[in-house]
Symmetry: C2
Subunit: 311 residues, 2 copies
């Protein structure tokens, strides 16, 4: 969409007061090399470049080496510099627009995200002769923690979401009591106070589950990002572009992380959402129609022109 | 121990009324090619040979092909034939002997074992924008099932044991709601009625957990074995050998599966247990002292001589 917008401007001979740059951030997703939004985070000064290069994946490969290997370790310095504004078009990845039949989402901010890795250690033993009361089963502890973590939003705040997406069991044999289970926790909310309470609640739930089963527990922070409210001037420019295009719009907060999170630390920023069919993403059947993508692109171009021509 | 016993008999020129055979059964453990005790099961007629050869591991390799590859697919027919008796020496793998300071276990039977594989299917989606009430999280369903399965013995029978040893999550990314989780269930008891009730309880617990999360569920039987009581004549021979050696002994039932389970379908059988330090097994720190191993071997030899000289 960014390329198309700039190409269209060039085709029509449109010149702007400020230059426009197109960026494709490295490692936005992050599961292989956590934390996510690593490229934009380094650009915005949230992470040191050498911290990023040194991150290792599950096989021990370094992020910097892998960038080099695929030819993506460029020579232009990745560090903060003055920017007049930042816009990002994305699919919503949630059900708000599609369920209300709205064409464009005007994103007013991004919820904070916390990632943890929790490891529970018990005692490996034979699944037959070991009496139930003598067991320290790491998978039972993890299961009880996961169940409790699922229930935290209902108790704490209806806008909080909690997810356990990764889990590995060792040794992982049908007739052996597991002695080690590691799982991830992802939780998100727009308020820092709720995030802090969720953090405590997740750790309390995991500790209680571990303690009931006699397990040791280790909690490792895997990064995340604090909530950010976007710039009213930029969301206003998006709203104007929607009106000009005749598109219905809804103001909302993103629950997914985006590079705009870090751009907002540097300059006035905001995001535009196009609807996701069935509200789905991170799944093979995720879909945004070409019509919705084109509308998003048009709103991006309109808002971009406003921002790039500001004095 | 079996080789040592026969070598010692040969060294001393001892001849027996009946011939003695030493056997090393294939695939006793079974996690790669379930069900366990496959070699003895085929020998005893519990499984067809072609059923065994056709079993595939997680990578799709066939058991028969793998036997061929490692040179273990011999040409002596593996099928039932008349036997006068069967003895098996094993480490206890549990805490009964070590905790009472007893030297030899006389095994009176083997508990029945059931193995299941349960798959829960939900909906893959983004861990951020998907509201908690719209989720169908396969890992949450599995976690609740595992927790409930752990509690079944306390409700049903104190001698029942239940274990979930294997679990895999798909897609397994920190920021994606899992849509598919597969886990194993292993449960054991000496009574067939309790095993049947445990089977129902496991499936009810899994179905309830799946239904609460809106998941589909699939339960696949992975085999197992019915309980068996050993032959009093053979346990008597073991007891006599203990008395002759001056060793303390305890009569008990095995909760671990053993090839003697299938041998008992063919002929009078029983087992001898040596103590396991800390009652541990299927773990790196499992240990049986050389002194205990030697005592077990001596009792094996004594009982074997009794059986092999019977008219």
């Amino acid at each position: 969409a960014a390329l198309e917008t700039v190409r269209s401007m060039n085709d029509r001979g449109i010149e702007t007061r400020r230059p426009i740059e197109v960026v494709n951030w490295t490692n936005e997703e992050g599961p292989r090399f956590p934390p996510s939004m690593l490229g934009s985070g380094v650009f915005a000064g949230a992470f040191e470049r050498d911290f990023a290069y040194a991150i290792r994946d599950a096989e021990g490969l370094r992020f910097g080496d892998e960038l080099e290997r695929i030819g993506y370790r460029g020579d232009i310095p990745c560090r903060p510099r003055p920017l007049a504004g930042y816009l990002e078009l994305h699919v919503e990845q949630g059900p708000a627009l599609i369920s209300e039949g709205i064409q464009i989402g005007i994103v007013e901010g991004i919820r904070g995200i916390t990632w943890l890795r929790i490891t529970m250690k018990g005692v490996r033993d034979h699944a037959g002769p070991t009496p139930m009361h003598m067991r320290k089963d790491a998978l039972v502890g993890a299961a009880r923690a996961i169940s409790a973590i699922r229930d935290i939003p209902g108790k704490l705040d209806p806008d909080l979401v909690t997810t356990v997406g990764e889990l590995s069991v060792s040794p992982g044999a049908i007739n052996v009591i597991p002695d080690r289970v590691t799982f991830s926790v992802d939780f998100r909310h727009r308020g820092e106070a709720v995030l802090a309470r969720a953090h405590d609640a997740v750790i309390e739930a995991a500790e209680a589950a571990a303690s009931a089963e006699g397990l040791e527990i280790e909690v490792d922070p895997l990064g995340g990002s604090t909530p950010v409210a976007f710039d009213p001037g930029v969301t206003g420019a998006i709203e104007r572009a929607c009106s000009e295009g005749g598109y219905s719009s809804l103001r909302l907060w993103s629950a997914a992380g985006h590079d705009a999170r870090y751009a907002a630390d540097l300059c006035p920023s905001a995001m535009i959402f196009a609807p996701s069919v069935n509200g789905k993403s991170h799944a093979e059947d995720e879909l945004t129609t070409w019509e919705d993508a084109a509308r998003g692109c048009e709103v991006l171009a309109g808002a971009l022109l406003t921002l790039a021509n500001r004095s």
